[in-house]
Amino acid sequence: MKTWIVWLSVILMITGCKKKPAPTNNSDSNNNPSTSSVKVSLTTDKNIIRLGQECVITASVTGAEGSLNYQWEVNTISNILGSGNTVTFSPCCSSVAGDNIVKCTVTDSKNNKGIGQITIVVNP
């Protein structure tokens, strides 16, 4: 009886785990930290693409000093391929259809940071 209760409890604990809320990106494209002089703006060759297609996103940076580090993120499970100031956005699968918010954080050699973001609409 004891074993049975332990098994059941463990299973219910695991299956009942609370799901973490998905991250949300601020859709304001000028969300650079206000105290930083580093401004990042993102442009793309296509704002709207179909699943299976891809687009190139370029980050333009002003106010930064020295060498720059680019960190790219997306609020879905799409692929971002490449590195540096130009990357390719490639939607992975039908579950990413809709708005994909791509964010690029740029850090300069004095550790000043700037953030730019852009929305790519993926049509199924």
Binding site: A22, G52, Q53
Partner: protein, 302 residues
């Protein structure tokens, strides 16, 4: 009495979670050899190869020729299952597998490929009823990743469909029933395998639960040759990314898999081919055009 409770627990677990709807890709689990109980001190080694190619799209249960976001998706997989009979009624299994290739070609002609270890599964099976003509076995196990780090390209994780492993832990539950008709050289068996619950991986992606139900009809022609017909149903619930149930995941698939067996000097060689009978996926998804497997089995009495 305790056995009865154990069965109840397994049945409860199998049907506890609500099935939202279900999905697609063929599973590396093959054949019928990795099921049932072994005699005490028998070691069974199963090696198999599986290839699956997908380039057809379905929306619900309808084929869609106008969708082609991936030109194809394929995998080539080798696996190994080690089973050992601890006692007459208890058998333990270790399942390991490696993707020799997992590849996708997008509509934009970008080819992305990976290789790597799938999750391992360590399980134990208990013979609830075991006679020469009838067997009922229940089992449970742990699905474990060899790494929690996802395969990456350019410093970021590749898409989930390309990952060789779920990179997360999970549970596996099994029910197996077998009826032998010795005089007619016929065996009927039914397997139900549930892969649940799955945990989140490092990027907060959680694979949906999977339920496989297979009915097998096996007939031996002579001491060497035999055939087997498998009717397999796969039900997958939706995947989750954080708390979001993902569209384009989950579904119901029904296959018929003819299998031919050849036995010689203690080795059993099998070949099986998956023929889809029915597919009903959530939203639109790529589904397999064909899949086949080679299996080699050998028992050792230690």
């Amino acid at each position: 009495m305790s056995t009865f409770r154990w069965i109840l627990t397994v049945l409860f677990v199998l049907y506890y979670q609500q099935i939202f709807s279900q999905c697609c890709s063929a599973n590396p689990i093959v054949g019928s050899s990795n099921i049932g109980l072994l005699s005490k001190n028998t070691l069974r080694v199963i090696a198999f190869y599986r290839y699956s190619y997908s380039d057809i799209y379905f929306e619900g249960s309808k084929k869609r020729d106008d969708i082609h976001y991936l030109k194809y998706s394929l995998y080539s997989y080798v696996g190994n299952i080690l089973s050992f009979g601890i006692t007459r009624k208890i058998t333990t299994d270790l399942e390991l597998g490696y993707y020799l290739l997992k590849s996708e070609l997008t509509d934009a002609n970008r080819k992305l490929s990976t290789t790597g270890l799938n999750n391992g599964i360590c399980s134990i099976k208990y013979g609830v009823i075991k006679h020469s003509s009838f067997e009922l076995t229940a089992g449970a196990g742990l699905k474990f990743p060899f790494t929690q780090t996802l395969k990456e390209k350019d410093g970021r994780p590749l898409s989930i469909s390309l990952q060789p492993s779920t990179n997360a832990f999970g549970g596996v539950f099994l029910l197996f029933m077998q009826k032998n008709f010795v005089e007619k050289k016929i065996r009927l068996f039914l397997i139900h395998r549930a892969e649940l619950p799955n945990a989140y991986n490092k990027i907060y992606y959680m694979k949906g639960n999977t339920f496989f139900t297979s009915f097998f009809f096996a007939k031996s022609f002579n001491e060497h040759w035999g055939t087997l017909l498998q009717l397999r149903n796969e039900i997958r619930t939706r995947d989750y990314w954080y708390d979001k149930a993902l569209p384009g995941t989950g579904g119901i698939l029904l296959f018929i898999s003819p299998q031919i067996n050849y036995q010689i000097k203690g080795f059993n060689f099998s070949f099986l081919w998956d023929l889809p009978l029915y597919r009903n996926v959530n939203e639109s998804q790529i589904v397999s055009r064909y899949a086949f497997s080679f299996i080699c089995t050998k028992d050792f009495n230690l």
